[in-house]
Amino acid sequence: MSRGGAIRRPRGGLLLLVALLLLVVAIIASFGTGPLKVAPGTVLHVIGAQLGLADPAGLSQRDLSVVWNLRIPRALLGALVGAALAMAGASLQGLFGNPLADPGIVGVTQGASLGAVGAIVLGATALGAWTIPVAAFLGGGAATTLIYLLARAGAARGTATLLLVGIAVGAGCSAAIGFFTYIANDTQLQSLVFWQMGSLAQADWRDLGAALPVFVVGTLALLRLATPLDMLALGERQAQHIGLDVRRTRIALIALSALLVGAAVAFAGSVAFVGLVVPHFVRLLAGPAHRWLLPLSGVLGALLIVIADTAARTLDPPSEIPLGLFSAALGAPFFLWLVMRKAPRGGAA
């Protein structure tokens, strides 16, 4: 941000193109990277063979299985999760008018986790494979609504109110998760650990197929709210004065953020801080206009998770560092820096 100077903005379209290119490179590189190195030529061979474009002869079963069954769905799912979290972060920040709103910090992730954990422990199967994603969505939506109502009600709904309400809602959800963990049996306990850590280790093609429509619908719908999000930056009354139906926009933003965070939590557990770090970085790079902020956040969020997850499964073979640990180690100092930087301007962001 310029300090009193003029704002100079690079072209959003060019940035988006570069970011997309980087993402494609990172995804393809991740196919060959890991405890088992696979040469780029072999990776292409595997993909070609699976798509029926190349002769599978000469491929080892191990390369084929690792690249096709494990790494490709994992990298693609990671990209979807990263894009969803970053875009949900950007839209929550727009909704709350506060750059510190992150799904993990304000309690939305905890709400979604509670939904997922509750569904696992109570053995809910009403919706088949969709049960856990739907439960995560409902939990995230309930938490977002609650936080929104509470954080807005206070006369001074500045950063402090939002963070305090987020802490309270997050703590409430954590307590409930603790209770479910307490009554869970051993099999359920194993699944629960997965939610707490945040990991893409269980990603497969079936997950990817289930996740894809949710993420596509959620992100496309959010992109359509770019202008309303810009208007909300003026304040809710002012946004209404320039023609925004604030009530409808609020509901849409809450629902879509909960949908994306819920889906991310359902498929990857809780991965914190992506929604905070990425949009903030993009604002420094391309400015606050949501027309570019949303898509750039999506692509860079995907890039961040693909790189972090590749590192998580490569650095300490044969075991894996949990992805959530990575994102927290990166995000926590960044969050502190943001809070300290904001402090001199007073609580109101």
Partner: protein
């Protein structure tokens, strides 16, 4: 469309069983600049909020062009009336020009015409030189003028301004109200909340003086700004004298 006209009919607002406004009957015509004045807590900003549609009245009716406000959709309403509040904080680092351009959003997009209107609005509000500046780094007065430019860019027949001059220096106070005056002369219906009775006297066609949520006086500046009325409503001794250069009354505080 015919000249939009705002009307409050027996409008009242109660919050926690306390009447903030009570039985307000006012009509606002086109081509008129009306100043809303009154002591602290009289209900001026709340009345403006009723006109803006921010609060629904708990009794009575508020309408624009004969239609109650709640029957308007937000975007259509934003093409008819623009609002300047006292709070100008913008949440992210948009540039001044980007904020002013948001005034065009309720209208169907027309890039060339919009750019011209935005440039003109910034020139009139004296913020052209600030166009690329980060709005979060502006002074209070610069921020207020930026919002005024956004309101101008909205190009509506009704303008509602809540203490637009509060953060402005002497020259910019006069300039802003002169612009508002010109808009009224060109046919706009302008309603301005003002603290400074002399600014009201200098630029308004009509002054509505509120006290305790009710209309205490309503008329031309000369009719409303009398020693007796001001002393009764404000409980402060004053003298009303002739303005040395303008043909308007001048209110000065006096000792008991």
């Amino acid at each position: 469309m015919s000249a939009p006209l705002m009307a409050l009919e027996q409008a009242g607002l109660r919050i926690d069983n306390r009447a903030i406004l009570d039985g307000i009957d006012l009509r606002f015509e086109a081509a008129t600049l009306t100043a809303l004045v009154g002591p602290n807590g009289a209900g001026k900003s709340t009345l403006l909020g009723l006109l803006a549609g921010d609060h629904a009245p708990t009794s009575g009716r508020v309408s624009l062009g004969g239609r109650p406000l709640h029957a308007w959709n937000a975007r259509a309403l934003a093409r008819e009336r623009a609002v300047m509040l006292q709070e100008h904080a913008v949440r992210f680092s948009f540039s001044v020009e980007e904020v002013v351009a948001m005034g065009r959003l309720p209208h169907p997009p027309d890039p060339a015409a919009d750019a011209a209107l935005v440039a003109r609005a910034m020139a009139i509000a004296d913020v052209s030189h600030l166009a690329p500046r980060d709005v979060q780094t502006l002074s209070g007065g610069e921020a207020a003028r930026t919002v005024f430019a956004r309101v101008l860019a909205q190009a509506t027949p009704v303008l509602l301004l809540d203490e637009p001059t509060a953060a402005l220096d002497l020259r910019h106070q006069e300039t802003l109200l002169r612009r508002a005056r010109e808009l009224a002369d060109a046919g706009a219906c302008v309603v301005v909340v003002l603290h400074d009775l002399n600014l009201a006297a200098g630029y308004a066609d009509r002054i509505v003086m509120l006290a305790d949520g009710q209309v205490a006086a309503d008329g031309s500046p000369r009719e409303v700004l009398t020693q007796a009325t001001i002393e009764r409503v404000y409980r402060q001794p004053v003298r009303v004298i002739a303005h040395p250069t303008r043909d308007v009354p001048l209110v000065v505080t006096a000792d008991a």
